[in-house]
Symmetry: C2
Subunit: 349 residues, 2 copies
């Protein structure tokens, strides 16, 4: 009999329309490769050398204000800029196609505290982050050079983050980037072929009924290890009702979003008792146009596989063939579901 | 005036049909993040503790033979297996789609020498590797559980390699994996809309004429930094004439392939004077069926960006938005073109 816990299979991601190979027996493989330096360090609440802490000097020489909640400023090394010449381009060449990209990049400090990540912030403090994301999205919608706002956070050295001060970024572009565009196309195609139904609304109900991939939920959100997860402990946070973008959320939904983000990041820290690295990001409707079929959602892509120091490498076969994972999403969900929501640093022994 | 060396733009990859953001001014950004341990170590020619060296014991307890050239054995922790139950599957569910995957995984030691990578092997030694790849591909074509052979090499700890002994892998599956399938679809669509012409034949001629992205060439191959490269020093090795798979190559083409692989990996080592990490792999026709439109090619995906210790992280925006690079492919090609083909370890001062 085919057993999903022992036999190789591939699963289909209907959002990106691509396959993932799942080889559950590979977790028994010995690991002699690279080890990460785990982030166990106890940081000070203010670091005089951090260019993100309040009152400190930034990389470009400016001084940060004495901020007390969230703080947003333009990225000093922006990947896209609002003021560049137009690329006159007719794109008639089908081998070398190129287009100019304009936009803005911003950095958002989540809190003045150098030592706190979302896992240890309060619901209220994270609510301020959610509000700041919402206000920024609305402000970007006013800019002619912005069509799409990509909010994301790279957390931890293993995910290319260069500063441990809790912060995220917003890369705002006049083009809809590849990944959200692919997802939007899938959501639209699904709605078109299902009498206007939303794929992610249907998927959320389905997971709530099945339960085996659900990590936790609250009134407004469910957090699952998606059926098609690539990263070992990847999760997807889904609003239970249809919401296309942050400005559409009620205040209660924002409160619940803060709640689910805190609880999820806390579980992540508790998994291997370290500050858990990940890239996370919000996919939502582009700032202008008709995108009712968009269903806002949050992806968490964490690299760790076995411990605070052993990560999954998506290399070789994953880059040349297709993504491959070493445990089933159901196994990962069960691990995450069993964890406490009290942060390991604050545990009473 | 729009200047590709200073202004942000995105380029289209016609093989995978996806966009890449290029932000050339980002190389000036200071880096305070994770540093790699560079691979500068001088290894012994035989390591008694290596489970890939001749005569040594492998992870599964078996002994390696006293091999003198290449040596192939089944992966002790195979991601796919030939003998697993069939998954009875009608795939009527459009949200949770799954299929069973069977196949075989093999490891290939390139040489008995523990201390030699392709960059320091001779053309003749690499020719043996090319022959072994070809014979393995042919042997796999005889197996009912194999439709596609993915040959690849993960080199260096930064690319998840756990053993420095020079080796590659072959993951052979009854399904065509995602990435080669996407490329095959693109090659077919191009041929269909261009009177049967091959996209990669046309692309190779185009790059040979343009010259600015060519790293080097020989009679049979050209090596370019593709117009749509994602990794900082990504390269693409293309046969100049149409060849669909390894068994179609003449002996001269195999000799030339060995030559271009040695010269390319040597240039890579010389770039930052370290054993240069990368994932590389061969895309070619599946083992059975009509794939005349397939054009064999080799991708090199190396992570290093600035030095032996500073890599590019494809995280955050890259995972959630679209791949982003910090220098132009033309700049990368110029750097690689200027390098010597004498390995830095063998330089006469
Ligand atoms: O097979 P290895 O070398 O043990 O493992 C390496 O290559 C595999 C195939 O690309 C990946 O799945 C692993 O994550 C990586 O660590
Ligand atoms: O912007 P940062 O934090 O300096 O840089 C980090 O995030 C960026 C956006 O995901 C990536 O392009 C970089 O490779 C990564 O190191």
């Amino acid at each position: 009999m085919f057993d999903f816990n022992h036999h190789s299979h591939r699963r289909y991601n209907p959002l990106t329309r691509s396959w993932v190979l799942c080889s559950p027996h590979r977790t028994q493989r010995p690991w002699q490769g690279q080890q990460e330096g785990p982030d166990l360090e106890q940081r000070p609440s203010h670091d005089p050398k951090c260019y993100l802490c309040p009152n400190n000097q930034r990389a470009n020489g400016e001084n940060n204000p004495d901020y007390t909640s969230t703080y947003i400023f333009p990225n000093d090394f922006a990947a896209v800029k609002s003021d560049q010449p137009t690329l006159d381009n007719t794109n008639t060449d089908d081998l070398l196609q190129v287009e100019g990209v304009r936009g803005e990049c911003h950095v958002m400090c989540f809190s003045p505290r150098h030592d706190l990540t979302m896992a240890e912030m309060t619901n209220d403090e994270i609510h301020s982050v959610v509000n700041a994301w919402t206000e920024s999205y609305k402000a970007m919608a006013e800019k002619e050079c912005v069509s799409h706002v990509q909010i994301f956070e790279n957390k931890g050295a293993a995910m290319g983050c260069s500063n441990p001060h809790p912060h995220g970024q917003m890369w705002c572009t006049d083009r809809i980037p590849e990944e959200p565009q692919t997802e939007l196309n899938s959501l639209k195609a699904y709605a078109d072929s299902h009498d206007g139904a939303c794929m992610l609304c249907n998927y959320a109900s389905r997971e709530l009924a099945d339960k085996e991939r659900v990590v936790m939920e609250n009134d407004s959100y469910v957090c699952v290890v998606p059926f098609w997860a690539v990263w070992p402990f990847e999760t997807l946070v889904l609003p239970k009702v249809h919401v296309s973008s942050l400005p559409q959320m009620t205040d209660e939904q924002k409160t619940d979003l803060a709640d689910i983000l805190r609880r999820m990041t806390c579980r992540y820290d508790n998994l291997f008792e370290c500050s858990f690295p990940y890239s996370m990001g919000i996919h939502q409707a582009p700032v202008r146009g008709e995108f009712d079929y968009s269903h806002l959602h949050i992806h968490f892509y964490p690299p760790l596989l076995r411990s605070a120091t052993v990560r999954k490498f998506l290399v070789g076969f994953e880059l040349l063939g297709e993504p491959q994972r070493d445990l089933t999403p159901e196994q990962a969900a069960a691990r995450l579901r069993d964890l406490s929501e009290t942060h390991y640093k604050h545990k009473i022994e």
